[in-house]
Chain length 491, copies 2
Amino acid sequence: MENKLFLYNTLSRKKEEFQPINPNHVGLYVCGPTVYGDPHLGHTRPAITFDILFRYLKHSGFKVRYVRNITDVGHLESDGDVGEDKIAKKARLEELEPMEVVQYYTDRYHSYMDELNVLKPSIEPRASGHIIEQLQIVEDILEKGLAYESNGSVYFDVEKYNKDHNYGALSGRNIDDLLSTTRELDGQTEKRNSFDFALWKKAAPEHIMRWPSRFSDGFPGWHLECSAMSAKYLGTEFDIHGGGMDLLFPHHECEIAQSTVCNGHTPARYWMHNNMITIDGQKMGKSLGNFITLEQMFSGEHEKLEQAYSPMTVRFFIMQAHYRSTLDFSNEALQASQKGMERLLEAYGNMDKLTASDASSFNVQEISDKCYNALNDDLNTPILIAHLFDAVKNINSMLAGSATLIDADLETLKQLMNNMVVDILGLTVDTNGNSSGNDELLSETINLLLNLRIDAKANKDWTTADKIRNELQALGVTIKDTKEGFEWSVK
Amino acid sequence: MENKLFLYNTLSRKKEEFQPINPNHVGLYVCGPTVYGDPHLGHTRPAITFDILFRYLKHSGFKVRYVRNITDVGHLESDGDVGEDKIAKKARLEELEPMEVVQYYTDRYHSYMDELNVLKPSIEPRASGHIIEQLQIVEDILEKGLAYESNGSVYFDVEKYNKDHNYGALSGRNIDDLLSTTRELDGQTEKRNSFDFALWKKAAPEHIMRWPSRFSDGFPGWHLECSAMSAKYLGTEFDIHGGGMDLLFPHHECEIAQSTVCNGHTPARYWMHNNMITIDGQKMGKSLGNFITLEQMFSGEHEKLEQAYSPMTVRFFIMQAHYRSTLDFSNEALQASQKGMERLLEAYGNMDKLTASDASSFNVQEISDKCYNALNDDLNTPILIAHLFDAVKNINSMLAGSATLIDADLETLKQLMNNMVVDILGLTVDTNGNSSGNDELLSETINLLLNLRIDAKANKDWTTADKIRNELQALGVTIKDTKEGFEWSVK
């Protein structure tokens, strides 16, 4: 594979070698959350998928400008340009100013992303902060004759666009099928065709989120924000556009149509879509009401949860499936992820104890190549993790004295594990190899206790030795006696 | 004082009883950071001052909408509407898109505010996200004849405004003095008077941050953003406007002039200004280059710092001065704050050990009244803290057996300490009374070690007892032997 990154491009429906527009620079745009509720397990998938892409691109030496937006206006309850604005509805229910709702859930989103060790994007623009830029696109599309005004709103003329372009290029939908399967909905009579989409919506009198325009006091259509903000911060043609598969149609299809009218081409060269998390065979989603929030995941307080799962367990669970496969929620799978991650991190933590020998009994470079090949093959994290478990097996063999590495190979191994586990997979690891944030002092204190236990055993003071062991175990510290002394880990 | 809150109103130059416009609701607007550099000690003062106000108002039962903005455009290097935009300059120096600079320093600001336990505001709007609202104010002021266009820019006509109003109402400046002391500066020739201020600035060709308007492609004047965002989220008349004293003139004076033209009155009823932090007798400020960043404060890595100071020590240091007094940086003062805070938190942590008696030997209600009176007297935190130390003295006497409280009084004392220390002063306290986040497990582990030490002493095993003491001390754990066994704290 020669260290070339291949990514599956939804637009071409095949894996393509990634080649940036500007050497060494990558422009990456990912659709972020609509901030009207707490993030749930489903939201972790795009966040973690594109976090790994961001990390891997940076690891590969690219200078990445990663833009992930906050949708705080214009996202209606239905894709048919009808229903209430999601934020406005939540604000009405909670008797808050819409921007209080936005702030609250944006802060919550950030805090959960921090817990999941998802890196912050380079720019996190808000839709409501780019009304002017969106109105400029509306004017541009109107001027080019591909939109029409109707009762203070402006709609994109899909049928006309489809004459010269392919509306459906990304999603594979066919406009004739759309015509035959869609029907007139309430409030859509101002559209020429039901599949036309809003660029600007006239606000109802009670609608709080509104801005002046020459068409009406209103608000932008949802699909417009990503076209405006990606163009503003990444240019009219950038490298990678990502998002969940549920955004493929109509959201991304509409983005392509808008950009094609304005600039003559699709905004991004590579379109990447993560698949969904399912629960009982259905997509997990806020609108379906079958979601488990991250707060519930981390506390265990949900009827579907047998236990609490740490942020790193959730992260590992997501990475154990390829991002383009569906991933079904189950306690068994999460518990398996937890065990697997602990095994990986334990070996990672034990690498300090490895010493070099005169000969190498296994091929580290081969493991390294396989890891990078997995990443280069459309970010195949489950395969990558399988190869890391090969490394784990070898590390454990070395600890048991049944495998050896020369100094240079040992360095390669350590470097590889650090690159993969910490930098790219983004697992947080303390010096002891635990996944949570126990600090240095705790480590030292437990080490002190266990050294006292060794002294006690040497003095045949079994009472004290047992007391230390039992009390530490009661606190959740697992102790393993080894030739060198002891090992411990915290549950 | 009858539990009425009095606040010093810069506008009236006296302490006034606080009466909200809408019963039980408070609208609070505070000028936030211009995000082009890391926060320094000077930035902690408005953040913590208005955090205490926010906390105390909420504690008093008000529903508070707290708006604190992010200035990400329009803040020029000089107050005279000349010089480069601060964000754009930083972006140019770092070869980044201006919004990357904004995002980076906004994220850093948030993370330091979290460390200082400063609560998040209800809404945190960005100047660049409110260009339309700012342009609407420009139009309004132009229509009312109090602004003029000049070469694509729009300026507020201060002299004309001053004929019917008092430009200087807030700051006490006199326009005639301004006339005689200001002089023509480069690039100001398009102004009628040097003290006129920009509402809209035409952007130079190389200026990246620009938006279209009927005047020019340009950007809003700095003073406009707060007028636009406070009106949008709090209404054209709200309760309290806060900020640092360095913003009093021209920033807040200009806000008042703008709002008075548009709405016929000042935007806020109460204007509160925190004083400056000084260092070597000078205001600490980014533009003066004599600042110590929070990163440096917390790490101790700055030539002026004798040690690292924890976020809670910095917070306590800020609160030990009244917000309207200057506060001089010194290691001595910070070290005294650290000791004082430790004494306070130690007593707070020891309250669990207090037991009720048949009689009360001191008056808890009186201490409580004094604490609330201090807060009600223009948020006099140093006086409040002095009264809390009275409470500490009494708690320590109770621990020593020389003071007593009946059950109801003991409950009042515990409630008072919790209200003041945790809710209002916002000190973070773990179960052990320490100020940093050592977790439960660490506490239990150290307790286990110290119980082993008691066993060792009982067995006259002085070697082990000393070893535990010495090693824990080497790790920074201070141990105090008591009648009941031991107490410990972590440095």
